[in-house]
Subunit: 211 residues, 2 copies
């Protein structure tokens, strides 16, 4: 089982690494980090780079495609080579998935027309421009073979759900225990439903804080 | 504020990237990924490499030191250069922290003597050999300036707790909302307290699965 993860400049690291940490542990899974060119790709916070081991033209199929989000997504929406690659690989997948604003990239590739989908809470209002129907309240949304997750950390939940479907509940539970995923956030501001309205408004007006 | 993250071969990616995703967003924070040599460092699952932007001898101080864990920890426990670097940087920190088996490295450096600490559940029994007192039931343990987290994903919780102490609750809550950390695991096998005893026993007897 091949899992292709798309990297591009200014993606958000955890969007990619959260799901990778789960999916790479499925017995028989092979993960390939893929970008326009081989080599290091800088994340949005600039102090970290992940290595792309393959260039786009070296990966033409995958069982699972994962598209992370981040401030760099916007620049990719207008890149025909990236959109064409996403479409071509999607034609071969069992699951096509995204985390955070990665769903906008799936949308720009024309893959979410008429589908329910989610994204980072601050990007949900952009989904309709691609013909997708934002759900807003669900952390992981499955519609056909398309699985989209909410912002950044939601990719871990998406990957565990996907693992259950790809390899069975027992494997998903084993991986959950291996990564000791028993989250205990010390604050309860993790969604726009639980954070204070003042904090949500402040972040909406200050896009810089969103990374 | 400088945050130094130690990388070494076969570390677990999420141990480092979870906390980085939180701590790098603290206003004024600068994260530096540091390893024996500059360049890509392969994780335990081999399909991913993170870039170290600095060599150990280029970083001699930090406000926060973060040591991730992983199957590669064991090899580091006997490396005098790494242990000496951890001790030297620790002498300059406000917080010295670890995720997963990273606490064994802090222990081997002599930093956890007489301190309460935690680790990946499968490594807890190794803490006493370094004079540390394993807590077992806590996901994040603070003892003085030493903050240790349980396995892999626990680094996110640790980093949010630390952010509250370093930059205040409001900043920690803002970062939690930015990374939409409102976890909803689809299974409840994330700790040895909630997973089935059969699964815990199976993973204990099959160390390969632990990565």
């Amino acid at each position: 089982m091949r899992i292709a993860v798309l990297l591009y400049p200014e993606f958000t690291a955890l969007d990619a690494v959260g799901p990778y940490e789960v999916l790479s542990r499925i017995p028989g899974a092979e993960v390939v980090f893929t970008a326009a060119r081989r080599g290091p790709v800088r994340t949005d916070m600039s102090s970290l780079a992940l290595t792309a081991d393959a260039a786009l033209d070296e990966v033409d199929s995958a069982d699972v495609l994962l598209v992370p989000g981040g401030p760099g997504t916007e620049a990719q929406l207008g890149d025909p080579a990236v959109l064409e690659w996403v479409r071509a690989v999607d034609a071969t997948t069992t699951w096509t998935t995204s985390v955070c604003s990665g769903s906008l990239l799936l949308g720009a590739a024309g893959l979410l027309k008429g589908r329910r989908a989610t994204s980072h809470w601050a990007c949900l209002d952009q989904l309709p421009r691609f013909g997708a129907e934002p759900t807003g309240t669900e952390r992981v949304v499955l519609d056909g073979k398309y699985a989209t997750a909410a912002g950044v950390s939601a990719g871990i939940d998406l990957a565990l759900s996907l693992t259950g479907r790809l390899a069975g509940d027992a494997t998903a539970e084993a991986i959950q225990l291996v990564i000791e995923y028993d989250p205990q956030p010390p604050y309860s501001a993790g969604s726009i439903a639980t954070a204070s309205p003042e904090l949500v408004a402040e972040l909406r007006s200050n896009r810089l804080l969103l990374g």
